[in-house]
Symmetry: C2
Subunit: 302 residues, 2 copies
């Protein structure tokens, strides 16, 4: 049996459109509606023909849905929830895909009292945005973290788990606060650092922008990929997971100072020991099926 | 006419073995000799059959060569140069592939007075090491930076340029000091930061190692690739380009503090402006043919 039969998706960018495509592929009988604040996005989604019905407003899209998934930037969740509140039927399950969970759980709970709110975060994405960037297999073999409140309806949790499993994800249930700490390390800090180094490299006096670009294959180009991610989405992530991000950043800065000191004092052994440890982490990620074993991410060398 | 007809390669790891393969592919009549400190590497290279002659010692490998390329870690250049000094014929051109150029130029000049020393750095590589990791097309469409001393023989410079062009590189001539500054930004700093973040993520109390690995697709895994690079090579790079690395790191730390402050004070506009700039850099790198335009580096999504 399908966990849901009428799904509404609000926000039809990379993630929302990928969810739509994944549902079409895995559960073709589900009736799919949706909306987006941007008329150009709505028009494009109609052209792409990945939903049964694209409504002009969020309210119209959720009428009759048994699952509503908010796929907008984290900072827009509260507004969208307020917009749909009057239209929701009592049994509807509300979920989302936001990259931060504590803030979103609080926002949705405040805006939608009495509703079954089961937040989720698929740990999958690319550097691109918008409906053309989405694809049906984005979530396959990636983890989706579900962060219900302690008093959430267990049946609703099970149904959201089944939903993500059906579109190919591995599912983990976690406390929202712990999610935000884990993701601060595995996602938010890496993005913050990538944005910083791109900025540092762009602002040097002695090295030109064109030199940075020409010689980027030395390592820099790897950082520019995630630093090309959507600015609005990432602004919202940092502002809504402030505490965990700042805490993790503090740790990182301390570790960086230690390395700086090792270089300054020619402590080659300390550097070698530290650099040797990293290889094991890479190997574990590949063994866990979370990255390709191909050299250079499998980039073409021809 | 070929720029060189008898080439000796010392150090037969990723880069040395790739140079050998590239020569075989582009200039099959060149006679190729070489050696490596590690007997297992020498045995493997004989099995791979990518050189005409694998000698037990560096000295024996360079006899008769008209080009000798040192492909050992930067910290081993001086020792290898001292080892081959007695065996070199007067007209031989000496080059290398080291990732740092000021130190290497100084080391080779001191060890080999009177010889034509034309250092080079192919800005190309992968996270893997050893002769099995090499391949013939590694240098194709990548830049090779040549850093001769001011008084270097112009003919020798031309020949080394022709050599790298013949195996597919674009060539740029640059002052060694400027090279070290540019590469500090585009390669050394990215590696330093990647090593640091992997270390930070491994040492947290509240987030387990297995969580870091499971949820690495949020961005962290991109960093683990370059943090899996050879520890000896990178120890040597940081110690021999200390000044430029520390200077660049200082800039990075200042920029990171500014971002930290913007997050702490909820300055969403500053974050958004900064994040928007980065996209242009990524686009320029793709337009310059230095990275793939495919989402997620073209990683397989199914
Ligand atoms: N990208 C990733 O890698 C990734 C991974 C996991 C989770 N997430 C999360 O997924 C969510 C969506 O991200 P995305 O990458 O799909 O972004 P995206 O491609 O930019 O799509 C977001 C869409 O939501 C629309 N939108 C914004 N505010 C809205 C509102 N008030 N009402 C209705 N629609 C609105 C946007 O329209 P406009 O064009 O008008 O802005 C845009 O079309 C975010 O919460 C993000 O944290 C992202
Ligand atoms: N990897 C990259 O991405 C990259 C890119 C551009 C330039 N480079 C430069 O290329 C050079 C080689 O790096 P690589 O990546 O090819 O490293 P690699 O795969 O580790 O190969 C280096 C080889 O040199 C051998 N070696 C070490 N000391 C030696 C000595 N005294 N005499 C003879 N052989 C010796 C090593 O043997 P052992 O096994 O005994 O150590 C190893 O087989 C370095 O200077 C590096 O800075 C690297």
């Amino acid at each position: 049996m399908l966990p849901f039969s009428r799904v509404a998706i609000l926000g039809l960018g990379l993630i929302g459109s990928s969810v739509a495509r994944a549902i079409r592929a895995a559960m073709p009988t589900v009736r799919l509606s949706g909306s987006d604040a941007d008329p150009a996005v709505r028009a494009r989604v109609i052209e792409l023909d990945i939903l049964d019905d694209v409504a002009d407003g969020a309210g119209a899209a959720v009428v009759d849905a048994d699952l509503v998934i908010l796929c907008v930037p984290v900072g827009a969740m509260a507004a969208v929830a307020a917009e749909i509140a009057p239209e929701l039927s009592p049994g509807t399950v509300i979920s989302d895909v936001g990259s931060v969970k504590g803030q979103v759980l609080a926002d949705l709970t405040a805006a939608l009292p009495g509703m079954a709110i089961i937040p989720a975060h698929p740990v999958a994405g690319t550097e691109n945005s918008g409906p053309d960037a989405g694809f049906a297999t984005l979530f396959r073999n990636r983890w989706c973290i579900i962060t219900p409140a302690n008093d959430a309806d267990p049946l609703a949790v099970e149904r959201v788990k089944s939903f993500w499993t059906a579109i190919g994800s591995n599912v983990e249930v976690m406390d929202a606060r712990h999610h935000d700490l884990v993701l601060a390390v595995t996602s938010h800090l890496p993005h913050l650092i990538a944005y910083t180094i791109v900025s540092t490299a762009s602002d040097l006096e002695d090295v030109t922008r064109s030199e940075v670009i020409k010689y980027s294959a030395g390592g820099f180009r790897d950082f520019t990929r995630i630093a090309a991610s959507d600015p609005t989405m990432w602004r919202d992530v940092f502002l809504s997971n402030k505490e965990a991000v700042l805490e993790t950043l503090q740790r990182f800065s301390e570790d960086l100072s230690a390395l700086q000191r090792a270089i300054r004092w020619n402590d080659g052994d300390a550097l070698h020991t530290l650099f040797t440890r990293s290889r094991a982490v890479r190997r574990a990620i590949i063994d866990a099926g979370q990255d390709t074993a191909a050299a250079d991410f499998g980039r073409e060398h021809e």
